[in-house]
C-alpha cells in the first residue's frame, strides 16, 4: 500500500529534529506541520517575514496583516518574530534554515528539482522556491512518485526548467524514500507493501544499492 498524502507528510515530519528552523512548501509539505511531535521544539518560517508560524485563526479572528507565504490567514505563537523580506531571505540564503520540505513536479538523480514552470502553460513565477532550494541546508522533496498520467516524476534528468541544480538531499514519495547519492538515488525506506521492484518500475532515475 503506497503512503497516502497524510502518511507522506507524517514520514516527512520524521526529518525534523528538536530545535530546527523549518520552511514548509505548499501542498503536502503544509500537512507536515500536523505531524510535529508536541514535545519537539520546531519553529516554522514563512518567507514573507515570520518565524514561529501558528495554526489557522478561529473563524472571525482572521487578521489581514497576518498571512503566510501561501497568503493564508494564520496566527502567532509566543516565540513569533516578524521581519522584512530582505531579512527573511538573508536567513534562507545564508543557510540559517535547517531544512525545507517542498513539493516538486520533477526531481532528477543528480538532485535537480523542477517545480515552477511548464513551458507553454501560463507561468506564475518561482516565488521564493529558487532561494529556498539554493540556500537552505537540507532540501527534502515530498511528492507523488508519478504524475496524474502515471508517468514517473523521478527522472534521470529533469525535462522542465529547473528551480535548482543539484540541491535535493532526500525525496519522499508515496512509494519510498530516496537519498540523492553519488551515482543516483538510493532507496532508504519503502512504503509498507511496496517492493523494490515496484519502485524500480515506477522510477526512471538510476537506483544505486
Amino acid at each position: 500500500m503506497p503512503w497516502t498524502r497524510d502518511e507522506m507528510a507524517a514520514r516527512a515530519a520524521k526529518e525534523l529534529h528538536d530545535g530546527f528552523y523549518v520552511n514548509l512548501g505548499i501542498g503536502i509539505p503544509t500537512l507536515v506541520a500536523n505531524h510535529i511531535p508536541e514535545d519537539m521544539d520546531v519553529t516554522l518560517q514563512s518567507e514573507n517575514g515570520m518565524l514561529g508560524m501558528g495554526p489557522f485563526p478561529f473563524e472571525g479572528e482572521e487578521d489581514p496583516d497576518l498571512i503566510n507565504a501561501g497568503k493564508q490567514t494564520i496566527t502567532t505563537l509566543p516565540r513569533t518574530s516578524f521581519f522584512d523580506s530582505a531579512t527573511s531571505f538573508a536567513m534562507i540564503r545564508g543557510g540559517h534554515i535547517n531544512i525545507a520540505i517542498l513539493g516538486a513536479m520533477e526531481v532528477a538523480e543528480n538532485g535537480d528539482i523542477a517545480n515552477w514552470m511548464i513551458p507553454g502553460k501560463l507561468v506564475k513565477g518561482m516565488g521564493g522556491a529558487m532561494d529556498l532550494v539554493a540556500g537552505v541546508k537540507r532540501i527534502v522533496v515530498v511528492m507523488d512518485h508519478c504524475n496524474k498520467k502515471g508517468e514517473t516524476k523521478v527522472l534521470k534528468a529533469c525535462t522542465l526548467p529547473l528551480t535548482g541544480k543539484g540541491v535535493v538531499n532526500r525525496i519522499i514519495t508515496d512509494l519510498c524514500v530516496f537519498d540523492v547519492v553519488e551515482g543516483g538515488l538510493k532507496v532508504v525506506e519503502l512504503a509498507p507493501g511496496v517492493s523494490m521492484q515496484d519502485v524500480k518500475e515506477s522510477t526512471e532515475a538510476t537506483i544505486v544499492a
Binding site: F56, F58, I74, V123
Partner: protein, 235 residues
Amino acid sequence: MSKKVYNTAAEALEGLTFDGMTVMAGGFGLCGIPENLILALRESGVKDITAISNNAGVDDFGLGLLLQTRQIKKMISSYVGENKEFERQYLSGELELEFNPQGTLAERCRAGGAGIPGFYTKTGVGTLVAEGKEHRDFNGETYILETGLVADLSIVKAEKADTHGNLVFNKTARNFNPPMAMAGKVTVAEVEEIVPTGDLDPDEIHLPGIFVQRIVKGTFEKRIEQRTTRKREHY
C-alpha cells in the same frame, strides 16, 4: 516643522509622477500594499510604468487596478497570476514581465537602497534566471551576479508614522515595504495612523524617517486573499 505630511494620496504624489517611470510598490499578495497610493497613481494617469512588486494584485484590487487601465508597461515580480487581466495582457504581449526569485528581488531592493550596485547569490544558478548573468566562484561554489534596483518612486504602507516619517509596521504586512522604501529616489508612505514625533520608541522604529520623504494617512480595505480558519473545538 515637518513638511512630510500630506493631506491626500493625490497630493502626496504631486510632482513625482512621469510617463515611463519606475515604481516600487510594497506588499506581499494583498497584505501590506499601499492601497491609497495605487489608487492615486491610477488617478494621476501616469503611463508606461515599470512596476517592481512581488505580486501583481488581483483584478480589482492592488496593482491589478493599474493593469486594468494599462498604465503598466513592465512588471518585475516573483509570483503573479492571481489576475485574469494580467494573464491576458501578458499572453498577448502587451505587458513585459521579468521574474525574479523572491529573495533576489528583496535583496536587489535593499542593495539599491544601500548603494550596492551588484551582489553575488547562489539563488538561480543552473536555472533560466542565471542566463546571461556573470557566473563566479567563491570558495569553490558558483554564484551569479545580480544588480541593485532603484526606483523613481517607492510607495509603501505602514501601520504608523510619526511626522518625521519614522515608520512602524504591523506583523507580516512589513514584508517588502522597508527594502523598497530604502530603494526609492523618493518614497511615499501611507499609514493607518500619524502620531506626533516623539510618540514612537526610538528602539521600536522599523524604518527610520530618512528613507521616507512624504507621508499620508489612508483608509484601508485590507482584503484577505485566502481566508483560512480552524473550527473552535473548545469554548
